[in-house]
Symmetry: C2
Subunit: 309 residues, 2 copies
């Protein structure tokens, strides 16, 4: 804890800023979803926007905005990239909830996409959001004129890698395909890295890349995101056991029912909480080299940790 006390941050102020950005993301997503574009079947649009508007904490886009701002870009310019991170996340949740996968009927406190729109449309809404994420970001970021074509390519490339077979698609396979399970003690770490941390890390990095951060800074931000994301997954595993559906917005106790090797099943609740603390410390260590105003990013892991208290 010494290291954390070394770093000064005002927790309340950080929470306020995170909430403000979360609302800003909600507002931007709401405006986009109300724009009724042409050339898309109405029912597909309803299905996509149902899940995109369904809320959640907007962790990924908020992190993208925070690092981008720390490196000198404006929230307005960064927003298409931030929304792309949320679209990818939402797409993966829609598919994750489908009957052949986790078969869940509750997400973010609402009926899951396929419960409302049917399996076929939910499948296509997920596909559409995965691809629209990049289509939207590419088009809007190119229009703005603030970022170079190279930065846009690099930021999109980072998010694409994190989303595809080397990222969350691979992570979902590790998490759901019994034949792909590895050694029990390594498995939760591998799932956390490739299912959760990789997308959080890429969201953090994308803001920094667009804003023209140095190679060292990007690398530090990506490390921060990796450890923060791993802590995030550990907390998620803990909440699956200790949380109520009203708190976590999805059906609790699913991991045990499905016989998944999680941080809790492998290490127990107490040790899992310790591991989460360890990861948040490492996330903060990664930020040590960055000489920019990153007080809110420093506070982020602590705010996350409080979820399990």
């Amino acid at each position: 804890m010494t290291r954390m006390n070394d770093m000064s941050f005002d927790l309340k102020q950080a929470e306020e800023k995170i909430n403000k950005l979360s609302h800003l993301v909600d507002k931007s997503i709401g405006d986009l979803c109300n724009s009724s574009p042409e050339g898309i079947p109405q029912r597909l649009w309803e299905s996509m926007t149902y899940s995109l508007k369904a809320g959640g904490k907007r962790v990924r886009p908020v992190l993208c905005l925070l690092t981008g701002e720390a490196c000198g870009a404006s929230f307005q310019d960064l927003m298409p990239m931030a929304i792309a991170c949320e679209m990818v996340h939402t797409a993966s949740l829609i598919h994750d909830d489908l009957p052949p996968m986790d078969n869940d009927s509750l997400r973010r406190g609402k009926p899951t996409n396929h419960v409302v729109f049917g399996e076929s449309l939910a499948l296509l809404a997920g596909d559409a959001l995965f691809l629209w994420a990049f289509d939207h970001a590419l088009r809007e970021l190119s229009k703005i004129g603030t970022f170079t074509a190279c930065s846009i390519l690099e930021a999109l490339g980072s998010l694409l890698k994190a989303s595809g077979p080397f990222g969350i698609c691979g992570g979902q396979v590790l998490d759901t395909d019994p034949e792909s399970y590895g050694q029990e003690d390594k498995h939760p770490w591998e799932v956390a890295r490739s299912k959760t941390a990789v997308l959080i890390s890429s969201s953090v990095a994308a803001g920094a890349i667009l804003a023209g951060a140095t190679f060292e800074e990007r690398s530090a931000f990506a490390d921060y995101g990796d450890h923060l994301g791993t802590a995030f997954q550990i907390v998620d595993d803990i909440l699956d056991v200790t949380g109520r559906s009203s708190e976590i917005g999805k059906t609790p106790g699913k991991d045990q029912v499905q016989g998944k090797a999680t941080f809790v099943s492998v290490y127990g609740l107490e040790k899992a909480a310790e591991l989460a603390s360890g990861e948040t410390c490492r996330a903060l260590e990664a930020l040590a080299l960055i000489e920019r105003d990153i007080s809110v990013l420093r506070a982020f892991p602590e705010i996350l940790r409080q979820r399990v208290r």
Copy 2:
């Protein structure tokens, strides 16, 4: 037919070139699939490459290579973009065959992905291929150094738009969601445009964009692809009625069983064949303004037409 005779092309030579390019695409895809990359679960890789290697006519990548070559780029440089077009197409086929969608067990003459790997893995293999298409193309095209970052962004943007909610995802909804059916006589045209023509048109355009074609040329190529793609879908509807599974590589007669409004159900076989001819003529007309060596592109619709004789 006068117009077609005006345009000189050697059909046999064109067929040889198309076959050569189709083999070149097969070889490149084969090499990529044999590369055993790190950081991806083995079973996901097997599932993705099973469908990607399963063949088919490679129409989209061949068209991308042909227009790109006509505008001055090399096949080698264009290949990552061409493969991306095939990956997107393959991803959409995997999802299209899933039980909640068309529920087909045969594709390209082989058991469909979910029959071999299960529904959950097939779903993720489709997701992974959709995203890897753009990840792979972005990374490899950036490495080559031949194309500008702006051209790469524009070519990827074109393929992204054609793949997402404003492209084939929307087309799939029109094709499979009864609540999204439009007027019977318009419906086959809308499905053909958004399910088939949009991706063929974008594959044609992507090669030209990368190779630095003028705005007028790109627009002409995109028009060509639109009409060629529509002809392609009409022929597909005809073959669903007249073809045998050994010829078309999938289960015939599905459209009628599913009660879909196709060109054949709406217009009858004879009129549908006429409409296909009309679309191939319009495809050729679109090429009239292009002053480059495009003899093989001119021959393409005729080679396609011969499939229904």
